[in-house]
């Protein structure tokens, strides 16, 4: 399969008065053409920072990509000029933000905001831009596009606005769409509609999607692969099947136990106790140590290496390290 995006050893830091926040600390993942990768993890783990880094939209200062590469179709975006990035943003890579109520400019018509990117990048005539905009509004399911084009954001509901934001993101036919919690601000029925819209658009255009969320329900519905993030690192990746049926990292297991599931009715929901580590001075070892029910002495001291469980399934946890496994087997054996 062709890799459209490959992120290696990405580090992002923010310099603040209180010190340096190490928001992203060595993230690796890749995205195949036409697939949907979900990045999940609790609030503050660095999901948005990772996606902003791909778009090179980290506010600098205070933020900085301090190490790593982001290869988009082979070229490293961390080294691209701002001018080159402007020609990539909205054209090759588009982004959708969490809150559709604030993502649209209240003083410009929907039509203007829709056509803006197209006119900027493709130098099309007004007529052609209008035609394309109408097409897009139709695609994302907005009735009466002709009249709606002339209206302002406040004349639309939240769900409708998110559809417009999606239309704006897709109007230049990007190859990669980054959606940062696109459904979090919407109510449940609208969420389902928007997710269906994503699936429909992906079938129609073949766009690759990075979906950022902390909602495992959303992940279960549309992701092909999942990357679980914790304290600025990706600690487990795998296919949807790997993660939902064979989660190996204690954090992933905890995440899954903390969401309600229809097939496990009657079982108690167990939230993960404790809080993530301080990103000003993250621990040297596994960042989950303080909250992990299986934590060992080594966990706190040395960061666990990437254990490859199968071609698709990888995890960073000492429990999966062959040395620890041997040790565990021995202790289990001596007790018996």
């Amino acid at each position: 399969m062709e890799k459209i995006l490959e992120v290696n050893n990405l580090h992002v830091t923010f310099t603040t008065y209180g010190g340096t926040v190490k928001a992203v600390r060595g993230v690796d993942f890749h995205l195949n053409k036409g697939e949907t990768l979900a990045i999940v993890g609790e609030s503050g783990c660095g999901k948005s920072v990772t996606s902003n880094a791909i778009m090179r939209l980290i506010p600098d200062p205070p933020g900085k990509i301090s190490a790593g590469t982001i290869k988009f179709k082979g070229s490293d975006l961390t080294k691209a000029s701002e001018k080159r990035m402007r020609s990539i943003r909205g054209v090759d890579i588009s982004m959708i933000f969490q809150d559709p109520m604030t993502a649209l400019n209240p003083t410009l018509t929907i039509g203007t905001q829709l056509m803006e990117g197209l006119r900027q990048h493709h130098k099309v005539t007004g007529e052609a831009a209008r035609k394309k905009a109408l097409e897009m509004m139709d695609l994302v399911g907005i009735p009466n596009p002709k009249e709606r084009m002339k209206q302002y954001p406040h004349q639309f509901s939240g769900g409708m606005r998110q559809r417009i934001v999606i239309a704006i993101a897709l109007i230049c036919e990007p190859e990669l769409l980054i959606a940062d919690e696109p459904t979090t601000a919407l109510d449940v029925t609208i969420q389902a509609q928007i997710l269906e819209l994503f699936e429909r658009i992906q079938r129609a255009t073949g766009v690759s999607i990075i979906l950022i969320t902390h909602d495992l329900g959303v992940v279960a519905k549309i992701a092909d692969r999942i990357a679980v993030m914790y304290a600025g690192k990706i600690i487990e990746t795998g296919t949807k099947r790997d993660i939902f049926y064979n989660p190996e990292h204690p954090y992933t297991q905890g995440l899954l136990k903390s969401v309600p599931r229809l097939d496990l009715q009657g079982e108690k929901l167990t939230p993960i106790d404790g809080t993530p580590p301080d990103l000003f001075s993250p621990p040297k070892g596994c960042p989950f140590t303080a909250r992990c029910p299986f934590a060992m002495e080594v966990c706190d001291k040395v960061y666990p290496a990437n254990s490859i469980l199968s071609e698709s399934h990888k995890v960073n946890c000492w429990l999966q390290d062959s040395r620890a496994k041997k040790l565990l087997a021995e202790t289990a054996g001596s007790k018996a």
Partner: protein, 310 residues
């Protein structure tokens, strides 16, 4: 829209009526009369004069006479300068005051906005601190002190600009500077803070994610939103500039309306007081109305009575 305008017009008329009534009450309650100061006048002459100007009538009759003169917009002759009608004074003074006011507003708005934008874009940099330092000075120094300073430095010490009067563009520089600095400083600070806030908004990030150039983002997406609070305070600023013209016209001996207004109060020249007050109030009320309309044009969310919604 029409209903809204009619409603506003009604409110404007009522406001004006309240101002007229208050002015009348204040006018009759301050001691003294136009003729007290004239040493030569004996009591019969004074009584004659008072009856000539209807000042011997009971207050409610005087009040009605004033209302009549306002409705017909004929305030009669000035008491102190009987050869001139109040309308003539207004006609002569207003264009000059208007010129001073308009030039001041243009200077204050344009330079205030530019200063605010630059400060916001160079947030926490040297230019930002400079601009905001100037702004704080501009807000805290009263215009009459600034006027005196400007005259002392730029007219007397260095003789770059004329000291007073209103004859050529060079004459306009110092009064305009004195009057515009305060409002400019207020606009600059407000523009800076709203601009900073607007720049952190999601729709600005979205505009960047579309690959728009920084200038396009500032002009098309940020500025319009950042200017809305500036438009809301325009009403207050206008009122401030208007009262500022009274002082500045005195200091620079500019023959505008403000000069007549201040003189008329000192001399108890009732028709002139009434005429200038009505004129100033009506002018300010109309300007405030225009500011509201401008706000509606800038912000589509408050378009009056245009159908919308889902």
């Amino acid at each position: 829209m029409l209903r809204y305008i009619l409603k506003r017009l009604l409110i404007m008329v009522i406001t004006l009526w309240i101002i007229i009534t208050l002015t009348f009450i204040l006018m009759v309650s301050i001691p003294g009369s136009p003729f007290n100061s004239e040493r030569s006048s004996n009591e019969t002459i004074q009584a004659n004069l008072e009856s000539h100007y209807n000042l011997d009538e009971p207050y409610h009759i005087q009040y009605l006479l004033y209302l009549k003169s306002i409705v017909t917009f004929d305030f009669g002759p000035s008491i102190k300068k009987p050869d001139q009608s109040v309308n003539e004074l207004l006609g002569r003074g207003f264009p000059i005051s208007f010129e001073l006011g308009i030039v001041t507003i243009i200077v204050a708005v344009i330079s205030g906005i530019i200063l605010g934008i630059i400060a916001a874009l160079r947030h926490n940099g040297f230019i930002d601190y400079m601009a905001m330092g100037i702004a704080v000075l501009g807000i805290s120094i009263p215009n009459f002190i600034l006027a005196t300073l400007l005259i002392q430095q730029l007219a007397v010490n260095f003789d770059i600009f004329p000291v007073a009067t209103w004859k050529s563009p060079a004459h306009m520089v110092l009064p305009t500077l004195a009057l515009a600095t305060g409002p400019m400083a207020i606009i600059a600070r407000l523009t800076r803070s709203t601009m900073l806030e607007v720049l952190t908004q999601d729709y600005i990030k979205m505009a960047r994610a579309k690959g728009l150039s920084p200038w396009k983002i500032i002009i098309k997406h940020a500025l319009r939103n950042a200017l809305m609070p500036v438009v809301t305070i325009m009403g207050t600023l206008l009122a401030g500039i208007l009262t500022g013209t009274f002082v500045i016209e005195q200091i620079f001996a500019i023959p505008g309306m403000g000069k007549y207004f201040v003189e008329s109060i000192n001399q108890r020249d009732y028709p002139v007081i009434m005429g200038t007050t009505v004129f100033y109030s009506a002018f300010l009320i109309i300007m405030l109305f225009l500011v509201d309309i401008a706000y509606g044009i800038l912000d589509p969310r408050i378009k009056v009575n245009k159908q919308g919604g889902e």
